[in-house]
């Protein structure tokens, strides 16, 4: 119910706001109110999840925090709006949130027709399948006739349909409004298969009673580049969100982390690093940000590697390997344009 009301309200909001919204500078609005309003998920451990104290953490949450750190020098100046998959775009379109970081897949239709812009990719993902171990299945091609549970309002639904059609397999879809209930339906045996992005599978598996009894199949049936989204038409704001992420990737590449950033800042002779950390020149001004914007991101949030390890890395309950999200120098696809 709540989601429907929210959607109606935000639709009404689109209808009611005078057309200034599209061109208004989000940065000015954010500076005026003193925080970034960030749309996140309703609970995907490792990506955006609130703990018992209401403290949010995750890769997507850190994308919000990095933006806040760049603007205010304070990673805590973020307010979070938990959104269901189907609410998320309307909430951004209507201006309810400034930034959507909700494990959202970058696709052509979303970029072209929704009045939104994708910024950069903070996690390269792909859709996979989770099944019970005792079914003895090791390939998605064996899923003919299976019943599949999934959350509504995601690219998952379409990929799943394409995959089964392409391989001429039949299946029964059970599409549930919220991920948690979809998972409960799977756990209760309504479905043979639970499908979503592999990162999501790993994080949802931690919520099951006996995670060991479930296995994530090796097949990856889609490309799911996940990243923060902003409204179309505000280029400055888009650049800020994009470069907040690029700075983190560049920092990892240069070997700058939250632990050694102060030391490097005072000791370095490298002009590139001096420019990045705001010791020389004023790179921030070009985006309307303070000179130390990049320093603040690294010091307050960390580099990309730190963010990954802290939230979804092998030592966390989610336990994802770095895989293709390694830096390009290590054989992955994480590559950011240079800051200069």
């Amino acid at each position: 119910m709540k989601s429907n009301v929210g959607k109606l309200l935000s639709t009404a909001a689109i209808a009611a706001t005078i057309s200034a919204g599209a061109t208004a500078a989000t940065l000015d609005d954010v500076k005026a109110k003193g925080f970034v309003q960030c749309g996140v998920s309703q609970g995907v451990p490792g990506f955006s999840n609130a703990d018992v104290n209401g403290e949010w953490s995750g890769i997507d949450v850190d994308a919000c925090r990095a933006t806040a750190a760049a603007i205010f020098g304070d990673a805590q100046k973020v307010k979070f709006t938990p959104l269901s998959a189907k609410e998320r775009f309307t909430a951004l379109q209507s201006g309810e949130i400034d930034l959507l970081a909700r494990n959202t897949t970058w696709t052509y239709t979303r970029d072209a027709s929704l009045g939104l812009d994708f910024t950069a990719v903070n996690f390269y993902d792909g859709q996979g399948f989770m099944v019970r171990k005792d079914l003895g299945i090791d390939s998605a091609k064996d899923l003919d006739g299976a019943t599949v549970c999934t959350e509504q309002g995601t690219t998952t639904e379409l990929n799943m349909a394409d995959f089964f059609r392409k391989n001429q397999l039949s299946y029964v879809p059970v599409v549930v409004q919220k991920a948690d209930e979809a998972l409960s339906a799977y756990a209760s045996g309504r479905c043979d298969v639970f499908t979503t992005d592999k990162s999501g599978l790993a994080s949802h598996r931690t919520k099951l009673a006996n995670p060991d009894q479930h296995v994530i199949l090796d097949d990856t049936i889609s490309k799911e580049p996940l990243g923060p989204v902003v409204r179309h038409g505000d280029n400055q704001w888009k650049d800020i969100v994009t470069w907040a992420l690029f700075v983190q990737v560049n920092a990892e590449e240069m070997g700058i982390s939250s632990k050694n950033v102060d030391q490097i800042k005072s000791g370095t002779t490298d002009p590139g690093i001096k420019r990045l950390l705001g010791v020389e020149g004023d790179m921030g001004a070009q985006l309307g940000l303070p000179a130390e914007w990049a320093y603040n991101i690294i010091a307050k949030v960390g580099n990309y590697g730190e963010v990954f390890e802290r939230n979804v890395g092998p030592s966390t309950p989610v336990g994802l390997p770095r895989g293709i999200n390694k830096l390009w120098t290590d054989g992955g696809v994480m590559y950011a344009p240079p800051v200069r």
């Binding site: 959607k7 057309s19 009045g115 549930v176």
Partner: protein
């Protein structure tokens, strides 16, 4: 001027004209505000590069739907998916209304029963069901149903019927050549039965003789249909459900989502209807019952001919709102994967096309029309049942 002395009878002082002017003014304000909102919306959508229109209806939807009562493959169009969802909403609403009414009447009468236990049980039912949120009850039924049933491999079997977590599987009838005759026979028999009922009623008015019209018309329908079936050479075959690796294949399936939504809607609304029925019956003066008894009418005839017709006049108006509530509450089915309108149109279709205003507007239109139709039917019925004053 010259007419200064004349009483002022200009058009502006005419009450009718003034009323007209004010109405025209009000109407133009409403139209202008509507026009402004609409163009403003259109501008905003254009500025944000959001595409609009219903063109997507003819595009392939690309997603399958759990339950479809008309032919639907995952290469069907969005328009087709909309039709499937519409039918699912309609079916669950109508079945829910029928079932809720049956439950409501039984429980309502049970609360008035002289049997202490029956009356108390009915009270407990009403007070529990109507005081818990419907969404909660829906989750309860869904997960209770799922927890209680076995996996497909260990299905309960009743002849050719199978029951498991994936639903109730029954043989799927496939109609062979000549089945049209059976359908014709069935339609014919219904007309025959209607004619019989009318004849029996007329005869009773004329002569006072009673004829068991309902039972004999039931016999007529079954008899004629079966006869046509036999003449056509039993043109019906069944596709039986078979257990396969994951699920059951073949046959017809009633998914657990459908059952859970139906049970939740019917039991919840049934509790409200029970109270309405009880209130209606209590509103009929006890003197009516006493009078009927003193005329020598048996108890069930007293109820059927004297009390219920009078109670109905009190029952129908609030009953209408319960029916409307039930139809609208069916949208909660989206929460447990029942593929009704909100789930398919405002959920999947909206997500894939991004046409928020179109899809939500469409859903509002459908619920509006559904409610108005129910309302119109109930108003007609209310008029028919109301006291005819002479």
């Amino acid at each position: 001027m010259s007419d200064k002395t004349k009483p002022n009878n200009s058009m502006l002082n005419d009450a009718g004209t003034r009323a007209l002017i004010f109405q025209v003014l009000l109407l133009s304000v409403v139209v202008f505000v509507g026009y402004f909102l609409f163009t403003n919306l259109q501008n905003n959508l254009d500025n944000r590069g959001i595409s609009t229109g219903f063109a997507f209806f003819n595009e392939p939807a690309g997603f399958p739907i759990l339950m479809h009562l008309i032919e639907y493959t995952d290469s069907g169009t969005y328009g087709r998916a909309f039709a499937v969802a519409l039918i699912n909403t309609f079916v669950i609403s109508m079945l829910g209304i029928v079932l809720a009414t049956v439950i409501g009447v039984i429980v309502g009468l049970a609360r008035l029963s002289n049997n202490w236990l029956v009356a108390r049980l009915a009270t407990v039912y009403v007070e529990t069901l109507r005081n818990l949120p419907l969404l909660l009850q829906m989750f309860f039924w869904y997960f209770a149903v799922l927890a209680a049933l076995p996996a497909p491999r260990d299905s309960y079997e009743f002849g050719d019927f199978l029951l498991n977590k994936r639903g109730i599987y029954s043989p799927n009838p496939s109609f062979q050549d000549g089945f049209g005759l059976v359908v014709m026979g069935f339609i014919l028999s219904i007309f025959a039965a209607m004619a019989l009922v009318v004849w029996a009623k007329k005869r009773q008015t004329r002569t006072g003789l009673w004829f068991p019209a309902y039972w004999s018309s039931l016999g007529l329908i079954i008899g004629i249909t079966f006869l046509a079936f036999a003449i056509a050479g039993f043109p019906l075959e069944f596709d039986l459900p078979q257990k396969s690796r994951f699920n059951v294949t073949g046959g017809m399936v009633l998914p657990p989502e459908f059952v859970a939504v139906l049970v939740a809607l019917a039991t919840y609304t049934g509790a409200f209807i029970a109270e309405i029925v009880r209130a209606g019956i209590l509103s009929v003066n006890w003197g009516q019952t006493e009078a009927a008894r003193s005329l020598g009418l048996r108890d069930n005839l007293t109820q059927r001919l004297i009390v219920l017709p009078q109670a109905l006049r009190v029952i129908i108006p609030p009953l209408t709102s319960q029916y409307l509530n039930l139809a609208k509450n069916s949208s909660l089915g989206a929460a447990i994967a029942y593929p009704e309108l909100v789930s398919v149109v405002m959920g999947t279709t909206l997500n894939q096309t991004g046409q928020a205003i179109e899809t939500i507007g469409l859903c509002m239109l459908v619920y509006g029309s559904l409610s108005l139709t129910i309302s119109m039917f109930m108003n007609w019925y209310n008029k028919k049942m109301s006291l005819i004053e002479r």
